[in-house]
């Protein structure tokens, strides 16, 4: 059944065994490098401030100071920062999926005149580098055209730009296109409105892809730095990633490590618990071009 490049019989020859052991050693070494920074942050966060610079290769302190974590939690006001991040990311993910699902449904099923051009316009944003238009984007947030309001220091200044995601629209449209037309038509015969069709037929059938997009968007928005860094200058409202950058070097390096480790946990937990969905998301992402 399951085999690699080598068959199971070859694997038991001396050459096969040597290759297999070499592969495992290489993979393990890379695995150590991959998780080392996490581990390093966790254990450094337990050291006292002199141990930070004198312990050499010792990863573990003699006396783990768990109090560093509680101290970092209160000093950095982590509860508040996490709260900010969860509000920014939670609402951002919800709005992005809502806006994208509505647009994808329309393009896929309601056949708007000029739909192809609109889709091309959406996809254009995928090939234009964000970094090339973030200055005028910032100016738009500072003074929204027509409305003449400023979204600076408002979460709407993040949520609305986060709604712009051609990738989600593209993936959802492709998915909606595959739902059998008969289902939609029978609902129409029963007198269902467009919004009811979306709500009762399309969305329940797309639950898996919606979860995948949700997980991807959560990780992406939690990682975002430049936009919240520019838009939210009020320390009270900054997300954890931005605030840590500002305050980290005001405190001892052990507290920095402890707070960094705590800031890593939410996306880390999501990646481990929902790894199945992230894996699907990767292969969906690979074909987006």
């Amino acid at each position: 059944m399951e085999r690699g490049f080598l068959s199971n019989i070859e694997l038991h020859t001396s050459g096969g065994r040597a290759y297999y052991i070499l592969a495992i050693i290489c993979l393990s070494l890379v695995a150590v490098v991959a998780i080392f920074p996490f581990f390093f942050a966790l254990t450094s966060g337990l050291k006292n401030s002199t141990e930070m610079f004198t312990s050499g290769l010792n990863l573990f302190p003699d006396m783990p100071l768990w109090s560093n974590y509680t101290e970092a939690w209160t000093r950095f006001n982590m509860a508040r920062l996490f709260g900010n991040s969860f509000v920014i990311v939670g609402v951002g993910v919800f709005l992005r999926l809502l806006v994208s699902a509505l647009a994808a449904f329309s393009l896929s099923r309601l056949k708007p005149v000029g739909g192809r051009i609109i889709m091309a316009g959406f996809l254009l944003t995928l090939t234009t580098p964000f970094i090339a238009y973030f200055v005028p984007l910032y100016m738009t947030i500072v003074n929204v055209p027509i409305l003449n309001i400023s979204l600076l220091n408002s979460y709407w200044g993040l949520w609305l730009p986060y709604c712009v995601n051609a990738f989600a629209i593209f993936v959802l449209k492709t998915f909606f296109d595959r739902i059998p037309q008969e289902l939609i038509d029978s609902a129409r015969v029963d007198g269902a409105s467009a919004i009811q069709m979306l709500q009762h037929i399309i969305l329940p059938l797309s639950r898996s892809i919606l979860i995948v997009l949700c997980v991807l968007a959560f990780v992406e928005l939690w990682k975002d730095f430049l936009l919240p860094f520019l838009v939210i200058s009020n320390p009270e409202y900054q997300p954890v990633t931005v605030r840590l950058f500002y305050v980290a070097d005001r405190y001892g390096i052990n507290l920095q490590m402890a707070s960094s480790f705590m800031a890593l946990l939410p996306p880390l937990v999501i990646a481990i618990v929902l790894q199945r969905y992230m894996k699907i998301g990767l292969t969906v992402g690979a074909v987006k071009g």
């Binding site: 695995a31 920074p37 806006v99 316009g121 090339a132 037309q181 015969v189 467009a194």
Partner: protein
Amino acid sequence: MTLQHSLGADSAQQSRRQSRLSIDPARLRAQLPRQITAYLFLLPALITFALFAWYPMLRSIQMSFQNVNLAGQSTWAGLDNFQLMLKDPAFEIAWRNSLEYVSWSLLLGFLLPVILAIFIREVRLGKGFFRVVYFLPTVVPAAVAVIIWRFLYDPDGGYLNAFLQQFGIARQLWLSDPGLAKPALVTVMTWAGFGTTALIYLASLNDISSELYEAAELDGASPLRRIWHISLPHLLPVMSLMFLLQIIAVVQVFTEPFLLTNGGPGRETLTPAMHIYNRAFIRLDVGYASAWSVSMIVVLAIFSIIYRVVNARLNENS
């Protein structure tokens, strides 16, 4: 059952006929309520895209021909910004740095995921473990990763120097040594990104049926030849896409150098994206920054066109 089915097919045909005739004005009027619904559903996306993507993109191009301050007042400046840009010593420095970043990143991070994917494919027990572990760095926010890596690289208390000392390697100034700053930064970027690529390759390797390997084995092909003649040709199209995507990503790099070295030592790690940021937000010269943005769009457009051509050709073949 059959009745329902034929009903469905009927109205599907009808809707197809309708859409084919949508140019006819009378039909269009009959279709109007439906079109209004369609556009109501599109409206939130159209508004957000218009305000936060399309308008800024056009504005970026427009401003590159203007003198603009952050308050928004602008006067036309013709090609002044572009002439200034070409004369700016930072232009050559930033793009040369970009080229060096790309080279380092391809050197450190292009083949590594391929090799790892081939190794993982072979593993019989614990595949899932490696998959998860390799993936973990990719979810870490750069702003947090930077705090940890800055301390790993610390010349005095950092773990890297302590580790290398065991092998008799002298203390290095990683982030402030002009020769080491770029590879040190690219290492952080590679650490944060190799997992995704490795998993994409792994998914592609899993598409190959084991029967192919069995057949090759029966024909007497050694494992190495099986990898060379079956797996690598299958990976090659994905590899060429990843190659281009890696270049496109590295040319845009901002957060890591901005947070870790802020362009230093000197201008050794300055990137075009950082220069745009500095010019717009510190010198408040938005028009000039936009000229840089346009140069960036041009460079990346070339790579995206190559990407699209390669991608289209691959889709044709498969």
